[in-house]
Each structure stands twice: as C-alpha cells, then as structure tokens.
C-alpha cells in the first residue's frame, strides 16, 4: 500500500491530490490468521462412590491431559457478501480417562478431532436488510457471566475462557430500520455438537425467535420472544446504561414456559429406581430468571464487575434434597440394568440443561488488561447463596513477545461437606502457550 501511495505521489507531484479514497477498495478481500494453543492441565474432580461421578464412569474426565489446538480463521469479504470459516483441529492427549487405573501416568495415546467452530455467511442485501446463516455462537444479552435472555444457548458462561463454547446452527433475517433500531428473525435449526443435546440427554427442537433491539445515547435494550417446535415459549430481555464515566449498569432476564431441563423426582417410570431425572410436567409453568449487574472502573485502571442472578429454573431446597439423595443412592444399584439407569440419571444430573442448578448466585470479576503492556489479569468468583458453594478462578496472560502468550489458569471450588457429592469439579490448573500468526 505504501508503495502505491509513493507511486501516486511521484505521479501527481507532492502538491497535487493523491486520492486515498480508493484505499479501502484495494484491500485484500481474503484474510486469515492462525492461533496455535498448547496446554497441559490437571483437574481434580468428584469420583467417589456416592458422588455425581462415581469412579469417573459418568463424566470420564482426565486427572491430567494436554492438547495442541489449531485455530485458523479465514474471512472472505466480497461486495455485499462475507464468509467466515473457523475450522478447529484438536489433538488431545488424554491421561488415563476411564476406568480410573492404578497408574495415573498411564498414557492413553492421542485423539484428533476436526470440526468447525464457525462457518458463517452474511449477505447484506441493502443498507437495511441482511441474511445470515451457518454454524456459530449466537450472542444475545448484555451481562458478563450468564445471559438468561438468550433462548438458544443455555450455557453462555464458562469456567475456562481458553476453551471455546459450542456453536449451533442458525439462519437469520435482519432489518435495521435505522442505526438505532434492529429487528431480527432467528431460526435455531440445529444443535451441532452441543453436549446437552446429545443422546441420552435433552431433545433438541428447532427454535424460532424475534429479537427487537434498540440503541440510545448511553443505553441499549433488547427484547426477544421465542417458541420451539415442542411448544416451549420464552420471553427474554436485556438493558444496559452507562450512568457515569466509570459506572455501567445492566440487567438480563427471561420468563420461560416449559424450559428444557431435567429435574429430580421420587420414583421412576421403570419402577426400578427410587429417584429419576426427568424433563416432565413440573416444567409446564412459567419460570422467571433475572440478573442485575454493574461495573466500576477504578481511576488506577482495573474494573470490578458484580452480578446477582436469580435462577428461577434452578432447584429449590426440596428439589435439591431429592437431587442430592438421587446422587447419593445411585451406588445402591449394582445390577446391569439398574446400574445403567442410575448412571443415566447421574449423566442427566451433570447435563441437566441448567448451567447453574441452584436459584441465587453472586458473580464477581476483577481484572485489568495490558498491565505493563504485557500482562492481563482476571479473577472471577461465583458464589451460590443457597448452598454456599464457591468457585474462584484466576487467569493470567503474559505476552512474552508480540505473537507469543503464556497463560496460567487456576480454579478452586469450596463447599460445605453436605453438598460435596453434587459438585463435579474441585480444582483445575492449566498452563499453556498461544502463538499467533
């Protein structure tokens, strides 16, 4: 580009006009990048008999594992049409996953997985209309930790930001009447590889929504109504407002009729178990969930974010006691059929469709980017008011060079003894390298 500019200067003389207007048109319509992440990880998880993951039969987690993840990204920008492709090649080195062996250093070989984190295209028909479709993570809402207003992706939070969330398949038509109002019809037509929608967990049904979003001078609001093919309805909304130079407030909420979730009941359809996780008639009512949050940026740099979340779909005390008893008594079923059924219920306890299974949470985040031009620090804490389970995590990213990052992540859960058996992850330590090209 610089060369072209110099040539133009020579051609026209220094005092004449060299029209840089066309500069953006000369940009390469194709761009790409490659991120390679290598990591090693140690995870402490529940595996005791009587826990949610007895002998690690259910979650099949690794005490130690590592991986090399290749994350290329391609973009093709043509007139009016954009394409994005983000294939992923994951080479995993699991360590002794299942059953738990005697030798924790037992090397299990490696596995390779290839999939698309994003494969998306958008056609900007004119200044107002656009059509978009493909496989991608659909973001809706305004909060940091979890977005109850998002009717398509339940688990919008994650403990480990280095691991990507699962995308789904969407088709959207958008109409922006002006730069402040936007109306979008969204069809969630496929679940892709989202674990909770894999057998034997929840059934995926195509889900359709209408999102209306407004932007003001210092505020943003959205409302979304959605319905799926199984007759579930949901009204979600969000709003945010910058109220001073250092404070932002937001809210994110939903009212769900028949949410797609498992909950514990006494007895079972087979008559073989005392408890069962079902997606049944207790869901046939409206559940209201909501979050309020705020952030404050200190004069010396870092930002503190605080959110309170009331999870109407979470288990109340009575349901949680059933949930807990179901987990604790699963060990009583030792015959093939009953054990399989009990294990199925434990699997549904982990993949319940509820990212958080209690009703009241406080989330805190404290962080600063670009410290000393090299360091990003982020500390998160999630506290469950109902059962005093606390999860704290810290992520430190250090840029050794412009294209090389070292990071470390530590996570620790603490909980009262009485709820220990219901929690899956006790701690996680992860260190890794990311190179960018």
């Amino acid at each position: 580009m610089k060369k072209i500019f110099i040539i133009l200067l020579i051609l026209y003389g220094q005092n004449s006009y060299s029209f840089q207007k066309t500069d953006s048109l000369k940009r390469n319509p194709f761009s790409w990048s490659l991120q390679t992440m290598g990591f090693g990880r140690s995870t402490g998880f529940a595996n005791a008999i009587g826990s949610i993951n007895p002998e690690n039969r259910i979650a099949k987690l690794n005490d130690f594992d590592g991986g090399i993840y290749f994350r290329p990204e391609f973009r093709l920008k043509l007139k009016g049409v954009d394409f994005w492709a983000k294939p992923r090649i994951h080479v995993d080195f699991p360590q002794n996953p299942y059953p738990r062996g005697q030798n924790v250093w037992n090397y299990e070989g490696y596995s390779t997985e290839l999939f698309f984190q994003e494969l998306k295209s958008r056609w900007q028909i004119n200044n107002h209309f656009s059509v978009q479709g493909g496989r991608y993570y659909k973001q809706i809402g305004t909060s940091i930790f979890i977005n109850p207003s998002n009717p398509f992706i339940a688990n919008t939070s994650r403990l480990n930001p280095k691991i990507e969330l699962f995308p789904m398949d969407f088709l959207e038509v958008s109409f922006a009447s002006n730069s402040s109002w936007n109306y979008t019809l969204i069809a969630n037509v496929g679940a892709a590889q989202t674990p909770v929608f894999q057998e034997p967990f929840l059934t995926f049904n195509r889900n359709y929504g209408m999102l209306i979003e407004h932007y003001g001078d210092a505020n943003n609001e959205g409302i979304i109504f959605s319905a799926d093919e199984a007759g579930r309805f949901r009204l979600g909304g969000y709003a945010q407002k910058n109220i001073s130079e250092s404070v932002v407030l937001w809210t994110d909420f939903s009212a769900d009729y028949r949410p797609n979730r498992f909950y514990p009941v006494a007895g079972s359809s087979t008559g073989l178990l005392n408890y069962e996780m079902v997606n049944g008639s207790e869901n046939d009512k409206i559940f209201v969930s909501g979050l309020i949050g705020s952030s404050y940026t200190f004069k010396w740099g870092p930002t503190l974010q605080l959110e309170y979340y009331h999870n109407g779909k979470g288990y109340n005390q009575e349901q949680f006691e059933r949930f807990s008893t179901q987990i604790n008594t699963a060990q009583n079923y030792n015959f093939d059929v009953t054990r399989d059924l009990a294990d199925l219920n434990l699997g549904r306890s982990i993949n319940s469709g509820l990212p958080l299974n209690r009703q009241n949470y406080v989330f805190t985040q404290f962080g600063q980017n670009d410290l000393f031009d090299k360091l990003n620090i982020n500390i998160r804490n999630l506290y469950s008011i109902d059962d005093s389970v606390n999860q704290i995590s810290a992520l430190v990213e250090y840029n050794v060079a412009d294209n090389l990052e070292i990071y470390g992540l530590g996570l620790k859960s603490t909980m009262p003894k009485s709820v220990e058996s219901t929690q899956l992850i006790n701690y996680q330590l992860m260190i890794g390298l990311i190179s960018k090209f």
């Binding site: 207007k21 656009s130 404070v247 940026t297 412009d402």
Partner: protein, 250 residues
C-alpha cells in the same frame, strides 16, 4: 428618546453580530469535526505510538470505521497490529461502549474510563465529535503558530463525556482544529493535542486537506506522549447495522 432608539439599534446590531458570530463559530466547529473524521461514513488506519518517559513503549495499528452527524457518533476500532492485540475491538456508540477480545464470547459493556485504560486510550482524541458533545461556553480571538484562530471554550453536555472542558483553537480560514487542551473535572489540564492536516482527500466531489497526525502530550506525566498517524482515509457507505454490537463478533 433618541438615546433609547440608539441603544435599541446598537443592541439589535450587536445581538445580530453575536448571532452571526455564534453561527459562524458553530459552523467552524462542525467543519473542524469533519476534518477529524466527522462524516456519515469514514474509515482510516491509525498508527499509535505511545512514548513513556521519552522511550517508545509500544507501537500499534488500529483500523477505525466511524460515522458521525449532528445526532450520533459511532466508531468501530479494530486492533490490527501487533499480533498480541489482534482480535481486540472496541465499539463506541455515543456514550455506550463495548469491548471484545479473543477468549470472550460476548461483547463486554464498558465505561468511558475503562476505554481509556488501554494502549489505545488516546485514540478517542482523534475521533471526538465536539459539536455534538459540547456546548460553546466562550469564544475569543487568538493565534496558533501565527495563524488567526478562534479559541473556543467547550463544556461537556453531560457527565459521560471523557473531558468536561476543552479549550480548542480553530483556524479562521480553513476551520482546522489546530490545538486542543483537555481538562479534567477539577479544571486541571490533563493533556494537550496538536493536529496536522497533510492527508489529501476527495469528499462529495470536493478536495480537502485532511487530518494526518495528532501529537498528544500528557500534562501529568510530562514525558509521556502519544503520536497518532492517520492514513488510508476513505468514505464508505455503511449499512444501518454496521455499528451494532453483534458486528463485534465478525
């Protein structure tokens, strides 16, 4: 009676003159905004050089897409270099802001103070929309480098604006903003900026000199400076959805 008549005529004339000058100054302020990116659609690259205690601390390149008029000011800033910042984007819509970087799935709503805490903190000086965000408190005649100027005292319209007060030198002839002083809440001078106009552009079939460089000096840490070099200016037509937060995920 004659005295009253003379007084009335004088008052009307001076008021008209004052209105005429106010209107001329407001026009000049709007035009100076145009030369610094204030148009319905503008795109440019900014090379940001942050100098701390006389040493070059970092050197980054941003791609800036913006849209501004009397009612709105939008800007989408994408970090393109160095690699460690790649993927970071900042969306500014008037007084709302969102930030995203690799590892985040949702754009994070941020405050203006949070925006100012990063390496691109001073990029806002380049794109500020003074006519929309400030009222003219006073106007004086002055000079800057022997160029005749209006010296405006601008007061922020609300407490969301980063700098409550700006003293701004606009050349009378071309209406270029030549120098600005940025003041904090306690009326303390925080930074100063000088502007150069060596880019040549064509906009709506007219040829103009256009913003090419901003030199910002920190008045608190006096050895700290930021130099913004602007290139690749173009005037695309953006869709209505261009400056919506979902586009940060592109």
């Amino acid at each position: 009676m004659k005295n009253i008549f003379t007084f009335l005529i004088f008052s009307i004339l001076s008021t008209s003159f004052s209105f005429a000058q106010d209107s001329e100054v407001m026009k000049a302020l709007k035009k100076s905004d145009f030369y610094r990116g204030g148009s319905e659609g503008v795109e440019w690259r900014v090379k940001v050089q942050n100098i701390e205690q006389g040493q070059l601390k970092n050197d980054l390149v941003l791609s800036v897409e913006g849209s501004a008029n009397d009612n709105h000011f939008y800007s989408l800033i994408s970090f393109t270099s160095p690699k460690k910042f790649e993927g970071q984007k900042l969306l500014i819509r008037d007084n709302s802001m969102w930030f995203i970087k690799q590892g985040l799935t949702n754009p994070v709503p941020i405050s203006s103070r949070q925006r100012l805490s990063g390496s691109a903190a001073n990029a806002d000086v380049a794109a500020a929309n003074y006519a929309k965000d400030y009222t003219i408190e006073s106007v004086e005649n002055g000079t800057y480098n022997n160029v005749n100027c209006w010296v405006l005292e601008l007061k922020a319209k609300d407490n969301l604006i980063t700098y409550p007060k700006i003293k701004y030198w606009i050349s009378k002839k071309e209406n270029f903003g030549l120098q600005a002083e940025f003041y904090g809440k306690s009326d303390k001078l925080i930074k100063t900026a000088t502007f150069e106009y060596n880019n040549k552009i064509e906009y709506k079939s007219q040829k103009y000199d256009y913003l090419s460089k901003i030199s910002i000096s920190d008045m608190i840490n006096k050895e700290d400076k930021t130099i913004l070099s602007i290139s690749g200016v173009s005037f695309p037509v953006f869709s209505s959805a261009k400056f919506q937060k979902e586009r940060l995920l592109d």
